[in-house]
Amino acid sequence: MEGWNKPSSGGSTYTHPATHPANIITVADEDNHFTSTNVEEVLKELFTSGNSGKILIETAVISKGGTVSKAGTIATFSELDAGIQSIGAPMRYASGTVNSQSQGSGYFYTNETGTYLTGLGKVVVTGLTFQPKLIRIYKGTAVNPSSFYTWGNYQKNIIGNYNYMSGMEDPSSDLTVIVQHKTTGVPYNQGSNLAIVTATGFTLPVKESYGQYTWEVWG
């Protein structure tokens, strides 16, 4: 038994405990790296510092055009390594044509009073071998600046009274379209998950339900 024991032969013996709580062990920290003074708190500081460093690296990778795919909230070093390798990688591209469809059930967005809006068509593209960062859709086969829409990071394009922007709202997998009023900038609810960009395709709103659209994607 740990601590002081009294054997039957008389006197006292001391049995040292096999383990000690980390919070009772002090650290000398001769070079003043830590604010805490015990092992438990110093470990917490190290963990927080490591995470903060990972977040900084992830932000830097993304700002340089790289992509960090992470399974958890904080990227692992392997995931950061893959992210750094993605910086400066050749831009991937694909294009094709698709007939738009009726929007069907669900909504792309709500207006400023919260009313769900309908009447748009949609285009659905699958079979991509990468997740696009930038998508351009235009009516017909000729690029006409007045009739194409672009979804991508920091891109704004107007359909009716709305700007559509997409961003990495859900970093775990999909790009989510954000809709905001073109003059007030007030963001609106998406309504449902009709508009979505995945690793193999996308579904996005267009003006017409039955029209031929050309699409181009980069990523």
């Binding site: 694909a94 294009s95 094709g96 007939n99 469809q101 659905v124 699958t126 079979g127 990468f130 193999t200």
Partner: protein, 130 residues
């Protein structure tokens, strides 16, 4: 190394009428041919149908490109599963009911073969001593 794919059309049609339900069109780049399951999920017109009511054909990239660009309609022959086109009549620009025929590309190729065969026959006939 990035490999650019050239993916041909996949045309879904009604097995009873031959009418086209979905044309996936041609695609280029980092893209692959879609599966039937993906197409059913993507196109509402397929979602609502029984699997037995439709079928599809796949064309090579660029196949019948000129026919597609000049036709005014196309369908799939439900009996032969071959694509058929209707073409505008330059002599009569007024829209008519479509008349679906074998692709002009195929007809021209067949005519060329026939001409070559005839030429060969004529050559054989004229060079054979009486």
């Amino acid at each position: 190394m990035i490999i650019i794919n050239f993916v041909g059309r996949k045309i879904y049609y009604d097995k009873a009428t031959g009418n086209v339900l979905v044309d996936t069109y041609e695609r280029v780049g980092l893209v692959r041919q879609t599966t039937e399951e993906e197409d059913v999920a993507a196109f509402d017109i397929l979602k609502g149908r029984s699997v037995e009511s439709y079928d599809f054909i796949e064309l090579k990239y660029g196949e019948y490109a000129q026919d597609f660009s000049t036709c005014n309609g196309y369908r799939v022959n439900a009996t032969t599963s071959a694509i058929e086109f209707s073409y505008p009549n330059p002599a009569n620009p007024v829209p008519q009911d479509p008349v679906y025929v074998k692709p002009l590309t195929d007809q021209i190729a067949e005519l060329k073969q026939e001409v070559e065969a005839l030429k060969a026959q004529v050559t054989t006939t004229t060079t054979t001593p009486a």
